[in-house]
């Protein structure tokens, strides 16, 4: 009897893990690219962004995989936010170190070669969209970190004020302030970029 109970329990556990694996796979497939872009905009570094996403995925699996699927979104973005903040802190220390030794970073010049091949029925629109993305990315990367991440979580991820506050570990009032400042600043910067259909 005990053996049968143990076997049933083992089967139920296996089914549970399989279901959980499938759900997590779907969740990550939806979130990984967006999280990567958020981290890349924040850090400006591809490898750092990939590391941040990897850490966030691992931590979600290790610590929060038994939570409900509805909770994963806020938890995942909270981990991503914390990793970005950690990166900023490390970067601050590195910048101080660099300022002592006077080492300047080399500017990355992006020429026409970096433009992806644009194949579309409406190349004019596609080119505009590409330029818009480029400008938006530049404008976003120039925003203070909290404004930048609040804006991305609210506008792009579609999190509400409460969820954004939870993901960023700040008050709802702060979310509203950062978001409003970010929108104002981006509108000013991107004012000229609009495509009339």
């Amino acid at each position: 009897m005990f053996n049968r109970l143990a076997s049933d329990l083992q089967t139920a556990t296996k089914d549970n893990i399989l279901n959980q694996r499938q759900a997590l796979n779907q969740f990550f497939a939806r979130a990984e690219k967006r999280a990567y872009r958020m981290a890349q905009i924040a850090t400006g570094d591809r490898e750092e962004a990939l590391d941040i996403v990897q850490d966030a995925m691992m931590m979600l699996v290790r610590k929060y995989s038994d939570r409900t699927e509805e909770e994963w979104g806020a938890l995942f973005y909270r981990i991503v936010q914390n990793r970005i903040k950690d990166w900023y802190r490390r970067q601050k220390v590195r910048n101080i170190w660099h300022s002592w030794f006077g080492k300047d970073d080399e500017d990355d010049e992006q020429g026409i070669d970096s433009l992806p091949e644009i194949v579309s029925n409406n190349p004019e629109k596609k080119i505009f969209q590409y330029r818009m993305t480029e400008q938006l990315e530049k404008a976003l990367s120039e925003l203070p970190l909290r404004q930048q991440q609040t804006f991305l979580l609210r506008t792009w991820e579609g999190l509400d004020v409460k969820q954004t506050a939870s993901a960023m570990g700040i008050s709802e009032g702060s979310v509203k302030t950062h978001y409003s400042r970010a929108v104002h600043s981006l509108r000013e910067t991107l004012g000229e970029y609009q495509y009339e259909e």
Partner: protein, 115 residues
């Protein structure tokens, strides 16, 4: 830029940037996801979510089994007379009093039968 148009265009631009991710980055993200999922598989069976409630019930039962005899013993201890009471009962005077009480009871019963 108008408000609704602004949100729409920003979303569109960001979504496009995701769609345009190079194949190497996409592949790296896919591999990252697979290794995270492998971590889930590596978790041993006793770490599975279903084990938690079962374990909690088992632990509760174990605690109950350990604690309940202790409580029973404590209840039994409550039934034992206090040492002061034993001392009182053991004194000669009180034994005489008990004997007198028995005598009074006997007399009362006798009266009941008589009358």
């Amino acid at each position: 830029m108008k408000n609704d148009n602004f949100d729409k265009q920003v979303n569109q631009a960001l979504n496009d940037s995701v769609d345009r991710l190079d194949s190497d980055t996409t592949q790296r993200l896919f591999e990252t996801r697979q290794s995270a999922l492998a971590e889930l598989d590596r978790r041993s069976w006793w770490q599975a979510p279903i084990i938690k409630p079962v374990g909690a019930v088992a632990a509760g039962l174990l605690v109950f089994m350990i604690v309940s005899p202790v409580y029973r013993l404590a209840d039994n201890e409550k039934e034992l007379p206090h040492p002061a009471d034993i001392e009182l009962m053991a004194s000669v005077d009180n034994l005489e009093m008990v004997e007198e009480l028995e005598m009074i009871q006997w007399l009362l019963e006798k009266e009941d039968y008589a009358g």
